[in-house]
């Protein structure tokens, strides 16, 4: 990680990562440690491809407090933070300079030779691109054929989501911002991705409307940004549904039951064993 500074392109990422590393994070970032460190410890980029994400597991509910917590943002990353995570995804660049290998904590990149493609993290690709040291090769999924196919799939199957890269929204935005000239048919590509994004977000909303009395939800193939947008609302709603659907929890929550023997015990319906993991 420290050798990153040697590259002179280094993005200040050092401090940010370090603060994650030491586990001491400013207060508003505290709840995010889990996710950040995941990125550092696991092979995050590989896990993104076509992998079913179990998004709102009950575990994530129990991490936050029961319904009624006063901070609705508790489980929300900022979009900037999601983007930061996406910047670790690898992309292919074609350098026009010669440069020694860079040794980062996430791996070694380079050496770089003019016109010889190399894989680097997106943040490095963008930094090099900004300085005119490379061109970026757009990822394969950003082809018009593939995007058209995905969009059709999204529209045809209202019940399910197409498998898309976990960070497709962030990656495409970064490339549109910084590597316009490297993307063939950029207008078409951009509008396809926007359509896909809108169709999917609408689908998420439709999905949410169907919630009722459920404690856990599983939706496959949602992307990082999509999950993040709905996370605070979903977690809170599920907590509420769970709380009101489980008289046992309600009794646990209340201090009344353990007080005095004469108190009427809350009635427990027959089916009231905890069933936190109902699936819809």
């Amino acid at each position: 990680m420290f050798s990153a500074t040697r590259a002179n392109l280094e993005n200040d990422n050092r401090t940010f990562l370090l603060s994650v590393f030491t586990g001491i994070i400013s207060r508003h970032q505290r709840h995010k440690i889990g996710f950040h460190s995941l990125k550092l410890t696991s092979n995050h980029s590989k896990s993104c491809k076509n992998k079913t994400k179990s998004l709102f597991s009950f575990r994530s509910l129990s991490l936050s407090e029961m319904a009624g917590q006063s901070d609705p943002h508790i489980s929300l990353f900022s979009p900037q933070e999601i983007e930061f995570m996406a910047e670790d995804e690898l992309v292919e660049i074609v350098p026009n300079i010669r440069m020694d290998p860079l040794n980062f904590i996430s791996g070694d990149f380079g050496p770089f030779f003019p016109q010889i493609p190399a894989k680097v993290p997106l943040w490095l690709a963008v930094a090099l691109k900004k300085r005119g040291k490379c061109t970026i090769r757009p990822p394969q999924w950003m082809s018009i054929e593939n995007l058209t196919h995905v969009l059709e799939g999204e529209r045809e199957d209202q019940g399910a989501f197409q498998a898309v890269p976990f960070h497709y929204i962030e990656i495409s935005r970064l490339l549109f911002d910084h590597a316009r000239d490297d993307i063939p048919d950029i207008y078409m590509v951009r509008s396809l991705i926007e359509d896909i994004r809108d169709v999917r977000l609408h689908k998420v909303e439709t999905n949410l409307e169907k919630f009722s009395a459920t404690s856990a939800v599983k939706i496959s193939h949602l992307s990082a940004m999509e999950v993040n947008v709905v996370r605070p609302f979903v977690v809170r709603s599920l907590q509420a549904f769970y709380k009101h659907d489980n008289p046992v929890v309600m009794a646990d929550l209340d201090s009344a039951s353990d007080r005095q023997p004469q108190v009427r015990q809350p009635q427990v319906p027959r089916n009231a064993q905890r069933q936190p993991l109902k699936r819809r």
């Binding site: 009624g68 909303e205 409307e209 709905v230 709380k243 309600m250 353990d258």
Partner: protein, 203 residues
Amino acid sequence: MENSRETGSTNDGAASSQNANYYDIDDILAEEELVPVVFYKSANGVKVDPTAEKDCVEKGAKVELPFWLAQELYLRQAVSLSIPTCFNQNTRREIQADAACVDLKSRCPYFYEFGCKIAPLVGDRTIGKMLLSTFQMRYKEILTKAHTTVYAPASKSLAVLTKEEISLHEAARSSMAAFKKWRIGGPRFQRASVLGRKRKPTE
């Protein structure tokens, strides 16, 4: 922990689950909701009955007490409780008729939280069911409002929502707004939110 000592030592070792919310402002306010009670016993040296001439309350007095007091007295068989008006049959009928439009806020801003607290005491199982069905019926409306008011916080339609419903609405609205803002781009660094929105006039 600090809290368990606070309540535990002074309070028959009860109120164990209260500790988690000891400092929670919403929990405190939810327990301020009033419950109609009838005193079984009289009590000296208290100011709970505004009609009493002295600082005391007579056996048989009908008073409305905040939940935090009513609960403890009920558990010690000093009072009997009746169901607060926000959970009575009238309200329930209205909710059944058109849950989304009922003004729950004016009835009880802590409708769900208060309901959960009072239900085990009055031994009315239908309250729990009613809370769930009310939430189910209002949930969709909250969601729809949240996504249509991304840029316009606190509109008129929010006036009927309870505290928890507003938090839910706000959770949905603010994350969507943050996403849209990111999509458009612009400054990444912002004035600290704790300072409030308005800027000191400088001109």
